[in-house]
Amino acid sequence: MYKLKYFISEALKGLWRHRVMSLLSIITIFLVLFILGVFLMIGANVRFAVESLSESLEIRLVLKGNPTPQDVQRLYNSILSLNGVKEARFISRGEGLRNLAKELGREDLLGLLKTNPLPDVFEIRVKRASDVEAVVRSLKGWSETQEVIYGKEAAQKLLAIQRFLIYGGGILGSILLVSALLVIFNTVRLVVYARREEIEIMKLVGATHWFIRFPFIFEGVILGGVGGVLAFGALILSYGEAVKVLSSQFPFIPVILETAVLYKLCGAVLLLGLLIGFGGGLFAVQRLLGKVAME
């Protein structure tokens, strides 16, 4: 306990003694984590928007002949058992005609036609745009199927956007993450390097390597943690403002409003700050400790 207090107090004293450098490090870590957080939030929202659009993709299964209610039930179960199907709804030819009359504003349409020319259909919705093709392929193979109608182009476009998000976003995100790691890592390393004389004296008076490492690790964690907390706060605040502007200017763009998702994202940014601070502190002091041992 005494040692823990000693390490924390030494870490805080060290940061205060080199306060200009500490402050600059915190600002750097904050900015890097904030930019990373903004990227993550944009990525999550674009993905959310694409998924919302995917849900509105509709497949219409047009049935042959006059299926019995038993056939309809069997087909309904088969549709739901297909991978990627979110929901399905049967629209009988009678219901279809009533809907059409309502859409056209011609309530007399039913009386004008001698026979109902419309087929029985199922309206099917999928979970993701990438599920459309597979579901359509399955439906086309059924003997009861007369035709499968779906927005092929829209599905393909959405699929392309999703693919771009997965690969492009992954690459861009990785580059940003690695840059963030390197910047923070080097910032903490510089703080530790400024203290090499202290480390040399600690070694001379018989401090063990772990005793030397601990205050520096704490310093790294404090730098990363403070930068992370600032980034966390700034992200939450700026996201709220951005959503307000988007909702008033572009109300048709779907955005994530669920706070749990936001806190998870921002929490990840904070955790990242702490982890990199820890790693930066540990590796920087390790290099200084290793220098003499190498000779």
Binding site: Y2, K3, Y6, R17, E197, E198, E200, I201, M202, K203, L204, V205, G206, A207, T208, H209, F211, I212, V292, A293, E295
Partner: protein, 226 residues
Amino acid sequence: MISFSAVTKVYPHGIVALRDITVNIEKGEFVFLIGPTGSGKTTFLRLIYREIKPTRGSVYVMGENLAKMKEKEIPYLRRKIGFVFQDFKLLPYKNVYENVAFALEVIGCDPDEKEARVEEVLERVGLSHRKHLLPYQLSGGERQRAAMARALVYDPPILLADEPTGNLDFEAARGIIDLLVEANLRGTTVIVATHNRDIVNSLRKRVIVLRDGALVRDDKEGGYDV
């Protein structure tokens, strides 16, 4: 206590610092290590506190073969060795008391014991009244006394001093040497690398002379010159 057996140290780029040195230093001895700049004095001291390893030969300190010592054992060796350097190596942002206490803190000393030992050693080196001052507020002699206090605070069996009087006037140098002699009288083995002819000649202690890395003289009660 300290034994060098056919020790040669070659630094990178082929610079030979010590050549085939064999020497024994017994417990409680006071030894002056003299020789021109670059003769290998500092390398000799660095080998004792295992800052470096010999290229050939072996160095034993208190029965331990330092070449075979594991990295994690080195801090425990150093707790048995006090150091005094020409440039004092005091932490500029800690006052005298804190600089001395630092040596005990890093070995995890109990706070009450730490206070008692620091007060006692500051009294011994005559710095009790200056303990709240920072290094830059002290004279050169006082800074070296503070460094001495840090070296002596855990009563090490061995005390190494590398040019401890190099930056001091005669009076201050005399004061530091008196402290080294006093530590030696208490049983500490003292090795002093120095260029200070007057002090070596006045004390008449054992003198080991190095030149170009070779041991050229080892006198029981020697002087600076033959």
